[in-house]
Structure formats: structure tokens, C-alpha cells
Symmetry: C2
Subunit: 390 residues, 2 copies
């Protein structure tokens, strides 16, 4: 069923795994970070720059491409790989996350460059989700079958079953009902996937269940029992870092460990260390590229200032006279050529180059982090690495 795909665990250290995820467009060394190219483009970054920063895989969002320019259009262009010039591994999500998040208004700021109105979730029922397009306000229905069809048209290597992303504030009863419906939707996704499987794509199941141990357990069992290639941990992960680790841990308990495991939407440095230690293989998050557009540059602990957590804000006036690169030991083109002072100036002067330059650094930073995590799993000294990066 997944004959052109494989996941090989090379070495383990406690629960952490060093692996290789094989796809028709190349291998991904795991643990790996997946960068967001929401609308078929990592904002301001070319495929060449992605390669130079050692990026292994990017994702695009089904929700956005479904609304505009439409998946049939991208299919006519030869699919996402050909269309974007990124001929390496890609993932698309199911579209569910955006529909449901936008329904609650929490990720509306994600949608840049919108033309008219914002998305609204109109109705959820057993068939799927009815919503208004962020692009033109038209009514659109996304069902499990439609999501798979759209993702088939887009042609990414890794695709994701359609689910409802249950918000944190839902009560346990709703979370359970929603999870059960997500399971039915995932089964329908799988059925639709199998119906026209041409072996060019592999399907992820998603674990739901909110913050409830018994639900997460049931959902993990559901996913493991079905013929998904891999597993993604979705839904709310709680309201605090501590709860996030607890929820991820409970979701992991019943999972099929021979499959790759993806943690949806998580990209903080500490979170990645914690995730890797719980056995997560891949992560994605808009964070590294999004903060870049606001002047945020990711730095290892020794390069932070008193106000920074995991990144420094280059808009701060203290950087106006800082002639050092973002990180002196970084090998990205930005750190090789530009000082913090120049980037500060470019941000103040509203120069486009600031945005792509800081993004190049942040992408390289994340890839370097994952490279070192992989080496540390191999060398069984993951904990030593944490102090440098966190």
C-alpha cells in the first residue's frame, strides 16, 4: 500500500529515534522540521535558498490552496512539486485545522494577502465542514473525500486525513463526540485514499482526544489499528507547556512505534527537545518564518539578550549599533554577510530584504538544530545539547 515509502529507525536513545523517512522525492533524516509554505511558497524564500539552508521538507496548506488557486489548477500545472520548483519532499495538511481554527478566530492573522473578508466556519455536520472562503467569500464544503481529492491533486508526498481540530475550551463530552466523528472522517479519508492510490502519496492518521488521557488512548489505538502510513498528533495540547508534554506523552502511549510520528504545529526549541525525547520524528510550525517577518531572529542561548526567550527582536534599538551577525557561528548567507545593525536598519527602513534574510537565518537555524539533535541521538548525549540551544 505504501510501497514507495518507508520509515527506518537507525538508532534509538531512550524514547528518541534517529530515522530515515523515504519518499518518492527523496529521504528525510529524522527528527526533522517541516517549514510552512502555506500558499505554495515559503514567504520570500526561493527553492534554492531552501536547499542552501539544508531544508529537507516543506508543507503547504490545503485550506489555502483549495480556496485559491484551486487544486485542479495546480494539478494542471503538474502538481505542487513542479509548480513551486521544489522537487523534494512535501506534505500537505487536510485543511481541517485552518477551517476550525478560523472558525474560532485564533489563527486569522495567518492569512496574509487576503482579498475580501475572512473565513468563517458556517456549519459542521457528519458530512464535513461548510465554510466561507477567505479568498472570495464563496461557500465551500470540505469533506474527508474532498480533502483527499484536493491533496491528490496537489500531489505532495505526505498527506493527512481530514479531522476536526477540537478547541481547548470544549468540554469532555464535545471533545469525545468530535473525536468519534474525526475517527469516522479519518476512515472515510483512508477509504478515499485507497480508492485511487497510485503509490505516489502516503497518508497520515491524526490522534485527537484533547487533554483527556482515556480519549487520547482510544484515538491512538484507532489510528494504530488503521492502515495509515504515519501518525500525526493533533487537536489541543492544553493550555501550558507542562500540559502539552503530558498530552503528547499520553497520545504516544498507544501508538504504533514503527510508524513516523508527527507533532502538528509545534516549533519552539524547548518543545522540540521535549518532543524528540518523547519519540516525535517530525515537527512543523509557522513560527520560525513568521517571527522573521516581524524582526525575530532565532538564537542559541548564549546570544540572547535580557528580553529574549528563544529569539532576539532585531527591531530593538540596541541592535542599531551591533556589528555582529545574528550568530557568529552560523553558516547561513545572512550571518555570513549581514550584521545585526544592518538587519535592524533594513527593518526600520521597511526594506524587503530584511524579511527574507532573517527567514533564511531562522530556517538554517532550525535545520542546524535538527542536525545536531540527530547527531546527539546517535551519540546518546541529547541532554548536553539542550543547554546550548534552550
Amino acid at each position: 500500500m505504501y510501497r514507495n515509502f518507508a520509515f527506518k529507525i537507525i538508532r534509538s536513545f531512550k524514547k528518541s529515534r534517529l530515522g530515515i523517512l523515504e519518499t518518492p522525492h527523496g529521504n528525510i533524516e529524522t527528527p526533522a522540521f517541516i517549514f510552512c509554505g502555506t500558499k505554495a511558497s515559503v514567504k520570500g524564500i526561493s527553492p534554492q535558498q531552501l536547499r542552501e539552508t539544508k531544508t529537507q521538507i516543506i508543507l503547504s496548506n490545503t485550506y489555502h490552496l483549495f480556496s485559491y488557486p484551486g487544486s485542479e489548477y495546480i494539478k494542471e500545472r503538474g502538481g505542487l512539486h513542479k509548480f513551486t520548483g521544489w522537487n523534494e519532499p512535501m506534505l500537505t495538511d487536510s485543511g481541517g485545522f485552518q477551517i476550525f481554527s478560523l472558525g474560532h478566530g485564533s489563527v486569522a492573522d495567518e492569512i496574509k494577502g487576503k482579498r475580501s473578508g475572512t473565513s468563517t466556519l458556517v456549519k459542521i455536520d457528519e458530512s464535513g465542514a461548510l465554510f466561507k472562503s477567505y479568498w472570495d467569500g464563496s461557500l465551500q464544503l470540505l469533506t474527508p473525500e474532498k480533502s483527499i481529492e484536493v491533496q491528490r491533486n496537489l500531489g505532495a508526498d505526505l498527506i493527512v486525513a481530514f479531522d476536526e481540530c477540537t478547541p481547548y475550551h470544549s468540554d469532555k463530552n464535545y471533545t469525545e463526540q468530535s473525536m468519534e466523528r474525526s475517527h469516522r472522517w479519518e476512515k472515510r479519508s483512508l477509504k478515499e485514499f485507497i480508492r485511487e492510490n497510485d503509490f505516489s502519496q502516503a497518508l497520515y492518521g491524526i490522534v485527537q482526544g484533547g487533554v483527556h488521557r482515556d480519549l487520547r488512548k482510544r484515538s491512538a489505538e484507532f489510528v494504530s489499528e488503521n492502515q495509515f502510513f504515519a501518525t500525526a498528533i493533533g487537536g489541543t495540547l492544553g493550555s501550558s507547556k507542562e500540559q502539552m508534554y503530558e498530552v503528547v506523552e499520553m497520545a504516544m502511549e498507544e501508538l504504533d512505534g514503527s510508524r513516523p510520528i508527527h507533532l502538528l504545529g509545534i516549533g519552539g526549541i524547548r518543545d522540540i527537545f521535549n518532543g524528540v525525547e518523547l519519540g516525535i520524528d517530525t515537527f512543523d510550525c509557522v513560527h520560525p518564518t513568521r517571527i522573521a517577518r516581524h524582526g525575530g531572529a532565532l538564537v542559541k542561548s548564549q546570544y540572547r539578550d535580557s528580553k529574549s526567550r528563544e529569539h532576539i527582536n532585531l527591531k530593538r534599538s540596541q541592535y542599531a549599533s551591533d556589528d555582529n551577525p545574528i550568530e557568529p557561528d552560523c553558516d547561513c548567507q545572512t550571518c555570513l554577510h549581514f550584521s545585526r545593525a544592518y538587519l535592524h536598519y533594513l527593518l526600520k527602513a521597511n526594506e524587503l530584504l530584511a524579511l527574507s534574510s532573517i527567514a533564511v537565518h531562522n530556517i538554517r537555524f532550525m535545520n542546524k538544530l535538527m542536525e545536531e539533535i540527530r547527531a546527539a541521538i546517535y551519540n546518546k548525549n541529547l541532554n548536553d545539547l539542550r543547554g546550548i540551544w534552550c
Copy 2:
């Protein structure tokens, strides 16, 4: 006086010259095109991308950098080369063009990302030009001495004497008075240049005189008689293409042919062929990078559509299903990876990547044009080349 600079003419064909302009930051093969990095950055393009597109030289505008962040600041950062990471030849203009153009409101759209108000020319007198900063509305005085001091702080290889850019609608009497004052300003620029010449910079004189043959002749004689390293042809070039060529030709008549000759602000393909045929060595214009930000991609004649002159507008709906690159024979990263359809989509979706990708193509296009022009001067077949590019 210009011991670290030289201009060597390798070969001539009629009035066209194949040359090498030597600067402390490297040699420029001429005829060459100088790209606008107005505010110490070619919008959205990294130094690495400039090198990949075979860019030889860029310019920054004294006017903008004088207003913000200030030339002392850039001097503290080690000068423009170090600040921008572009360690190759650079030019700065005198600041005059922007002050006087903005006084007439004609290039106000150049000033992107402005914070408050627009520039206003408050007063011109013998001392210099008083204007309101586009950045913060403060009153600023630019004199010949100040312009040279600012350009010394900025540290470009090639710098330009301060002049008044006389508008086309001025009568002959004003044009003559303005030219005479520009000559006095240029002498003061030269004196200030010599006073602290450390041999790291070379000074251009500017030919003024509007569209009047006798004035252009006198101005050309003035520049040739003074110890400028090179000559720039400035001021109005008339109201039509025909008049432009006539004015350039008259300005060229009395010039010292052993010096490099720059034509200010001209960057159309036909104009460049005509300029080269009149003996122009270098050109600059914001056109290739500015049209890119509006979806305009430069193409050779065979790749144009019915509506295009020297570029195609990728926003036009006909490109939505055009799977060809901008130019199939172009070696830029954009043409190697992206179709016209993808660029059309990126423009429609307001994705940043569109702007930098089309700019990369246009920059490579202009450099390739100049490469082929140089080869054609060498091979004495410049006219054959014109049909391919115009």
C-alpha cells in the same frame, strides 16, 4: 589623484567602447549596467543573488541615506561595502537628483516605506539646497561640500559631484543660470573631494545644459577641463526618445573620451543600445528592479506578447496557464525553477517571493544584455544583436 582607479578601452567599434573600469573593489567590464540599491539594499535581493546574476556594480542614493540612517552612522559601521555585505564596486549619487525631482514631485513614488510626509524642496540658493527630509520632516541643507562629505562617509568607490537637476520645463535662461551654478557647485565638490582625498574614491563631474546644444557643449567642456575621474550626463534629456539621443549626442561631442562616461537614469533596452552606440560606458536606472515589483519581467523580442514593449506583465490573466519560464534560454534561478504561471499566481496571492524572483530575472537579463553587448563590440556586430533584444 585617482591612483587606485583606471579606465582602459580594450576595443572600439565606431563610437562604442569595450572597456575596463578599475576600482579598489574590483573591475567593471563596460558597457555595464548599475543597479539601484536606493536605501543600501537592492529591494529584496541579497548580495549572493547579485553575484549569481553576475552583477558588477550597484548604487545607493545619497539623498535617502543622508535622511536616514545618516552617513556618520554608516561610516561607523565601516561604510556601505561592509554595512551591506556587497564588497564589490559601488557608486553613490550626489543627492541632487532626488531633492530637485522631489521638488517637482515627479519621482515621489520612488520613496517607498516613508514614515511621515514627503520631501519638499524649500529653497535653492548659491550655498546649496534646503529641503524637508522624507524621513522625519526635518529641515536639511545639502551643499556641494556636504554631499562630498556624506559620500566620503558612505565610502562608495565612485561618487558624483553635486549639481542641480534642471527640469525639462525650465526655459533656456533658467537652464543656463542653473548650469552655471551647477558648474560652481561641481568645482566646490571637486575642491572638497581633493581636500581629503585618500584615493579610495573617484569623482564624477556632471554635464548639464538641458536640451540646448550650446549649453551642453559648454558644460561638456567644463567637465572635461576639470580633474574629474569620469563624466556623467545629467539633467533633462528632452521629452521624447529622439530628443534624448540628440541631447546625449550633443553632450558627448566635447567630452574627454579617455574618461568613463555614465548616462544617468537610463535603462530601457533600446536606449542602452543607442547609448552604447554613442559611446556611453555605464547606465543606471531603477526600471529593471522597479517593474519587477509590479509584475513586469524583461524579455527579449521573441518572448513578448502583443501588449508588451520591453517587458511582459505577469499579472495578466493569459499567464495563469503559461507553464513556460519567463525566458526559456535564461540561466537565472527564476527561469530555472519557476513558470510564468507560478509567478502569476504568486503575484495574485501577494506572495513576497514573486517580487524577488522577478527582480532576479530582470537583473540577470540586464547583465546578460550587457555581456552580449560587450561581445558584440568586440566582434563588431552590435547591430545584429539589436534585433534580438529590442
